[in-house]
């Protein structure tokens, strides 16, 4: 009897979690409806963000989000693969890998707002000097600065993904290659990397999802401009940073609805990215461990 109640309560808790997610999605849709109705569905993707006029074109922010996250991803791939190989192949045991792993853990634990603070005082002046050197408007803040800080922030995440995948490569495959006289370099580049390719891609996608949702460091370093970004060196805005800036003082409920609309777009974006990434990873795990 008690067992039945117990099992039911467990199932109930699981159901509650599903309900929670459903409630979140419904809330996002319901509360953004006024804004979508006001401007029409197609206008959501226009570049005109003017809350006072009931215009909630999200294109500048979708672009800002995609650009910064994508650049961050590109910049992080060589580092995350390198570190995954470092830990997975070259230095598997001993003090060096545990030191490096602790460092990566630490990097992952630093809060976003401290990244932003540091970026504001250290990275931005450096960027300004670089921009002056190239004769570009030395804003210091901007899309590229935000992308760089994002790179540093997602590296720990993409390393753990890549490492997990590289460790999944079956040992007999590697040993077969070694016994055929291959060097470590060849085994890595010709066996391990191609084998874990789709896994690394999946891990990359999941890191992309993380980057897309980052708020604080981005809002402090991106320059907060609501028009379509004209260059990587200039200011922009992401979905998350606009919400952070404008939510607490949205002047009318329609404005709030417009910001919830951005939250909805952000949610859908991360939803799709995570879904695809997890699906690839799951398929890979099944292939390697039948």
């Amino acid at each position: 009897m008690a067992d039945r109640i117990f099992k039911r309560s467990l199932a109930l808790s699981g159901f509650l979690v599903c309900l929670l997610l459903a409630a979140i999605v419904l809330t996002l849709f319901w509360r953004s409806l006024p804004a979508i109705q006001e401007q029409g569905f197609t206008h959501i993707f226009s570049a005109n963000w003017e809350p006072n006029m009931g215009q909630f074109g999200s294109k500048p922010f979708i672009w800002g989000t995609l650009i910064t996250s994508f650049v961050a991803l590109l910049l992080s791939i060589p580092f995350s693969i390198a570190l995954a190989i470092f830990l997975g192949e070259y230095f598997k045991k001993g003090m060096i890998p545990s030191f490096v792993k602790s460092c990566i853990h630490l990097l992952a634990g630093i809060p976003s707002v401290i990244y932003g603070f540091w970026g504001l005082f250290i990275l931005v002046p450096i960027m300004r000097n670089v921009q002056e050197f190239f004769g570009i408007e030395p804003f210091g803040v901007g899309l590229l600065t935000a992308s760089i800080i994002l790179t540093i922030m997602i590296i720990p995440f993409s390393i753990s993904m890549a490492q997990e995948v590289i460790e999944m490569v079956p040992n007999d495959l590697k040993e077969a290659a070694y016994s055929l006289g291959a060097t470590q370099y060849e085994v890595i580049t010709k066996v391990i990397l191609p084998y874990s390719k789709s896994g690394i891609i999946a891990g990359t996608l999941l890191s992309f999802g993380r980057a897309v949702g980052e708020t604080m460091a981005v809002t402090m370093l991106i320059g907060n401009s609501n028009v379509m970004p004209s260059s990587l060196w200039g200011p922009g805005n992401t979905l998350a940073s606009v919400i952070a800036n404008e939510f607490s003082e949205a002047t009318h409920s329609l404005h709030v609805a417009g910001l919830v609309q951005l939250g909805l777009i952000l949610f859908l974006l991360t939803f799709v990215i995570n879904l695809v990434g997890k699906w690839i990873l799951r398929k890979l795990k099944h292939e390697l461990n039948p």
Binding site: A11, P111, A244, G263
Partner: protein, 278 residues
């Protein structure tokens, strides 16, 4: 002859590649050192008893501390734990026990999705669910937002820990006639206690640094608050406001608060490691 040169090139490539990997790896560690160095250098001089025990002063007055911020952070963490840990553990138990049911599959899917939702979206949700109907900002609404972020973390930690426990333990307990619910709650969960506690500590260290969901829920306050039904200040919120201000005094306090926050997170992590090993 041809064999020898190609072997040489192969060996050179081998070493060059290894060198490249090591170089890139060390390069990645540089920003970490950079950041920690600056936070410690600028912040550690700020840490004093006065800093920890005083309230912030109005703009223009020097001195003041971050008492309300770290007490607020603790209040938020405590309330968040109360809201999310029991539910998280329960769902974690469910997922590790009922592995094949459809509801379990759906739950796992939902937990995965919840984990991927950006923290600012959770802030919006908490604003709509708690702040608007209650009519005021509060630590409670901030905790709701943080709980939504913490629940998936606890679920995953619990599920992973319990999955590692060998099945033989459960089977032995059941074979001895212990009812199922007692087996789970009084045998399995205590066995996995360390792992679950580690998971809780690591989640707390993650949540301690969250700012975005608190911007329009906990809202911030210049006063020391101990009530969860009032707006409350937290360390990350204070850092955000002070870092972007023009006042050098505030910026100094911001570095001090950053130092305090990082040391606390470090503390959580070390504690988690200690628990894991014991």
């Amino acid at each position: 002859m041809i064999q020898k040169t190609s072997l040489e090139t192969l060996l050179i490539k081998n070493y060059l590649f290894k060198g490249l990997i090591v170089f890139l790896s060390l390069l990645m560690l540089l920003p970490l050192l950079f950041i920690l160095f600056f936070v410690l250098k600028n912040g550690i001089s700020q840490l004093s008893w006065a800093f920890l025990s005083e309230l912030p002063k109005p703009v223009g007055d020097t001195g003041g501390g971050v008492l309300n911020a770290w007490v607020g952070s603790l209040l938020l963490l405590a309330t968040t734990s109360v809201l999310s840990v029991p539910l998280g553990i329960w769902v974690g138990i469910y997922l590790s026990e009922a592995r094949n049911s459809k509801l379990a599959f759906c739950t796992r899917f939902c937990v995965d999705l919840l984990q991927g939702i950006p923290s600012i979206v959770m802030g919006i949700i908490a604003y709509i669910w708690v702040v608007v109907p209650s009519g005021h900002f509060s630590a409670f609404s901030g905790s709701v937002a943080l709980s939504l972020l913490m629940i998936p973390l606890i679920v995953t930690a619990t599920e992973e820990t319990l999955k590692l426990i060998p099945n033989t333990l459960k089977e032995a307990s059941l074979a001895l006639g212990v009812p199922y619910w007692k087996t789970v709650l009084k045998v399995l969960v205590p066995t996995g206690f360390n792992g679950i506690l580690t998971g809780i500590l690591l989640s707390l260290s993650r949540i301690a640094g969250e700012t975005a969901p608190l911007l329009f829920t906990a809202f911030g306050s210049p006063f020391l608050e101990t009530s969860i039904f009032k707006p409350v200040q937290s360390l990350p919120l204070l850092i955000f406001n002070y870092a972007t201000s023009p006042y050098e005094d505030w910026q100094r306090i911001g570095w001090g608060a950053s130092c305090l926050l990082i040391l606390s997170i470090l503390g959580f992590n070390i504690l988690a490691k200690v628990v894991k090993r014991s």
